[in-house]
């Protein structure tokens, strides 16, 4: 189709919309540089005092540490479970396995408030409410479907004949898995691990329900800061989060480009 007036008009509109998607979040940057003690735009001078406060505050630092611990544990667990599950479903490949796959994606789709209720309901009698174990388990259940999706996507491009060839050449199931299947789904595994980490790192709804005092993640502290809506330290924390997001994004773009050029070569 020739590019008509309407298309050009729409393209301009799309660019404006895309900028509208990204720019509002950037407002945290100037606000975090205000020299004042309350949330405001800096007028004449800029100051890094809120970043200083953020990095010297034991509460914020402990939250960073807790979120990182929970995020990394979740990512490791979810990646292991999700990769195994994806390979299993791929090998079974029957009517039943598709039903099971749909079922296993539910934690990702069911509204988080319902998941939060479910975990809250069960974690109390299990005695793991407000504990690392409780949060890691809950986040793992929510994040594993992500890994399942990304690894399944990689498997869709994998030629099953390679697996047969490996077995015909005398490799055991385990060797085939380790030396043939896993290397070829690596991009999906990495992407899944990253998504699982981000999901946990950013998760607030379930966290609000199943943590109280002893575990206080970064989103939880941000949430409180947002609700009080006075302290510019929150803006500094938001800037740090944006920076981390962009780094993670650049990293994953780099990885996927590298794996794309690998497959070409």
């Amino acid at each position: 189709m020739k590019t008509g007036f309407f298309s050009l008009f729409n393209r301009a509109g799309a660019w404006i919309l895309l900028l509208f998607l990204v720019t509002p979040a950037l407002i945290a940057i100037p606000v975090s540089l205000t020299p004042k003690r309350f949330l405001s735009m800096p007028k004449d001078e800029l100051s890094l005092r809120h970043f200083e406060k953020l990095f010297s505050s034991p509460e914020w630092m402990s939250s960073f540490f807790q979120s990182a611990t929970i995020g990394i544990s979740t990512s490791v667990l979810a990646t292991a479970l999700g990769t195994l599950c994806a390979i299993g479903l791929w090998r079974v490949s029957s009517k039943y396995s598709e039903v099971v796959r749909a079922f296993l994606l539910l934690p990702l789709i069911i509204p988080q408030i319902i998941s939060a209720m479910a975990f809250y309901r069960l974690w109390i009698p299990m005695g793991i409410i407000d504990s690392y174990i409780g949060l890691i388990l809950a986040h793992t259940i929510l994040a594993t479907p992500m890994v399942l999706i990304t690894v399944s996507a990689s498997l869709a491009n994998f030629d099953p004949k390679l697996e047969q060839a490996s077995k015909n050449l005398g490799a055991s199931n385990w060797t085939t898995m380790r030396r043939v299947i896993l290397p070829s789904v690596k991009p999906g595994v990495y992407a899944g691990a990253l998504f699982a980490f981000i999901l946990s790192w950013d998760e607030i709804v379930v966290t609000l329900f199943i943590s109280k005092f002893s575990v206080y993640t970064l989103p939880r502290r941000m949430w409180n800061g947002i609700r009080e809506n006075t302290d510019p330290t929150v803006a500094a924390a938001a800037v740090v989060l944006i920076a981390i997001t962009i780094l993670a994004f650049a990293f994953s773009a780099f990885m996927s480009r590298r794996s794309a050029s690998d497959t070409k070569a």
Partner: protein, 281 residues
């Protein structure tokens, strides 16, 4: 015997750990909640009847539906425009657009909500700027009302709306559109009578996805609604964490769950769900 051996494919061993985890720690408590909705505080359909008796519950129910519908229409319309532009431009421009889309997709919901708080507040930047330019004399109330919730939600949902549309539009055979033009249809006719119907599955999938996601949305309504716009998710959390009424909360969760499952079912008839969620199993 053969059937049993077939159903016990060794692949299931790899699936088992996560499957058992989900059944025990996720499905179990969800079924328990559904059970609570008909047994707490007393057995029967009392909790569900409340929906028709209690004015406040009814209002929350309709507020939720209304906000979800407007969010869906808004974000799918805007998402359609973005997806269309992305499919019909050069590869390089498209990859820039995709980058912006994904960056916004990845920025924490808390950061975005916080930003809207800065921008839309009574003394926020938008009001200050408009007053500075002399456009308005009184600050506009963007927050603690539905307008603020809608702005925050549509902004959050647009990337989710674009992705299914993009999948759908990329799969179209553009020669059909060329054929339509060659047969004498105008650009507008081609769009309305050929392109739009062909993208209908994408529109349906994207709408249902946004509706499902909006239905259980908690963060943005709670912050930008400022307690004035009560949606089901926030009401559930108040019932559980403040007033400790499991029955009512369980009933609302049950309704939400059935709504979501029904929509997923409809959606699966229009599009392979795995395509929507990024995989291609």
């Amino acid at each position: 015997m053969n059937a049993i051996r077939k159903s016990l494919h060794p692949g299931w061993l790899l699936v088992a750990p996560f499957l058992l985890l989900v059944i025990a720690l996720y499905l179990g408590p969800i079924l328990n909640i559904l059970w609570l909705s008909v047994t707490d505080p007393e057995p029967g359909m009392g909790n569900y009847r409340k929906l028709f008796v209690s004015d406040s519950l009814l209002r929350i129910f309709w507020t939720t539906i209304r906000i979800c519908l407007i969010t869906t229409v808004g974000s799918v319309l805007l998402g359609y425009s973005i997806a269309y532009a992305m499919v019909h431009c050069h590869q390089k421009q498209k990859s820039y657009m995709l980058t912006l889309l994904l960056v916004s997709f990845w920025i924490s919901i808390l950061v975005r909500t916080f930003s809207w708080l800065m921008l839309l507040g009574h003394r926020g930047l938008v009001n200050n700027a408009l007053e500075g330019m002399g456009v308005i004399s009184e600050p506009i109330a963007f927050m603690r009302n539905e307008l603020g919730v809608l702005i925050g939600m549509i902004h959050y949902m647009i990337p989710y709306a674009v992705l299914p549309l993009l999948v759908n539009m990329q799969s179209l055979d553009m020669r059909v559109m060329d054929a339509s033009r060659n047969l004498g249809a105008s650009g507008q006719q081609t769009f309305m009578r050929v392109y739009l119907p062909l993208t209908l599955p994408g529109i349906v999938a994207s709408s249902l996805l946004i509706f499902i996601l909006s239905l259980g949305f908690y963060v943005t309504p709670a912050v930008l609604g400022g307690g004035k716009v009560l949606m089901i998710a926030e009401y559930i959390s108040v019932q559980l964490l403040v007033t400790l009424k499991w029955g009512t909360a369980a009933m609302l969760a049950g309704l939400m769950l059935f709504g979501v499952l029904a929509m997923l079912y409809i959606m699966s008839r229009f599009m392979k769900l795995s395509a929507v969620f990024g995989g291609s199993a």
